[in-house]
Amino acid sequence: MTAASGAERLTEEDVRRARAAIEYYYEGGFTDGLPVVPPIEEFVQEFLATTSRGHDEVVLELTHLNRACTVRQAAINAVMAGCRPEYFPLVLAALDAFHQIGGGTMMQSTTGQAAAFIVNGPIRNRLGINCQGNIFGPGHRPNATIGRAVRLIVLNVLEIRPHDLDQSTQGTPAKFSCCFGENEEESPWEPLHVEMGFPAEASTVTAQLIRSDLHVEHRSTQDPLHILHSLADSLSYSGGIYEAPPYNRNNGAVVVMGPEHAQIVAAGGWTKQQVREFLYEHYGRRIADLRRFGKVIELEDEPDDRFVHSGRAPEALTIVVAGASNAGVSTVGTSFNSRRATVAVETR
């Protein structure tokens, strides 16, 4: 394997030193558990050169913790995450969106949720962001490192660390990184960023919180209603109900429809908005089920067949199309916090 990086000229001593630099960041408690790329000024300058934002500009601020992250600190952590310099404007846009949804504070929650970052527009192809098979899994550098840069900032700059300010009970692997592109090319509907009011040729990133990524299997029929009911039932799983009024009835969700599911549903005449309204109407549980789960606070006297909505409103459900066209699989992710923000990526 030949390396563009000139790796064939490295000596064993060079690599021993690189390992020492990697260990230095482990010793400082500055990683997510995986090794980081040691940041030196030269690397950080490469990243800062990709943006016209001021290096001391504050991107994220948590006044209650007296912590803030500047563009420069974001660059240092983006280097550490393994980003390439050209990812940096997207990292900054992701941080802007993360800040707009109150992401920093939410990282302290016992719920232990992750921020999902959904990328739209030409930047997906320019940076090689995976929009197809295995979008929630490892293997693509931009997907893995852009989300990771945000997490390293939460750990190192906001200092929200597990067992300390991050009080996650169990957390989710999505906290390492949850970043993917919408598969606009295989979607029968308009892409998310156009829905959010951006031109199709704009590049954007959308942030929304998810408790976890829940696998939704449906390969048995090509009836749109069967697919939609599978999605709605999956959203409504009992473990996604945080029983504490009003939080249990104000959820948001990210619904990632596999291209085949989206195409079957659209071919049946459903618009994305109709899908959203159907999912909202069927996202929730009957009182009889809630009683079984011990989740009927303030609803004890309601009849068994009364349906209790879990979602805040139809618009709290974000619907995107992504993944491979090789088996009927979609994914849903819910959160008690339904905020969503879409930010354009800086272009120069």
Partner: protein, 93 residues
């Protein structure tokens, strides 16, 4: 050292504990600060009652934050500083 610090190298501990002014609860005004989480107020009020039973507490004053996710508004904090000697706060779930 060429390796860069990824966080806040010059910030010492972000908060210092206030000096502990009292060694007894007798005669003190106790504030209770709820965070809106389910049963937070019930627990705090029950604790307030227990404290009144066991100590010669002067008074118990109950405050609430508007939401758990944000700090108490400054006006609430100012009033607690004015009206209370010690405060019992509910944190978490």
């Amino acid at each position: 050292m060429v390796l860069l610090h990824p966080g806040n190298p010059t910030k010492a501990g972000s908060a210092k504990l206030a000096p502990r002014r009292f060694t007894k609860l007798d005669g003190l005004r106790v504030g209770l600060l709820g965070n809106t989480k389910l049963n937070a107020d019930n627990i705090l009020l029950a604790l307030g009652d227990l404290l009144k039973e066991r100590y010669a507490i002067k008074e118990v004053v109950h405050y609430k934050k508007p939401t758990f996710a944000l700090p108490a508004p400054q006006a609430t904090v100012d009033e607690m500083v004015e009206r209370c000697d010690v405060v019992l706060a509910g944190v978490g779930d």
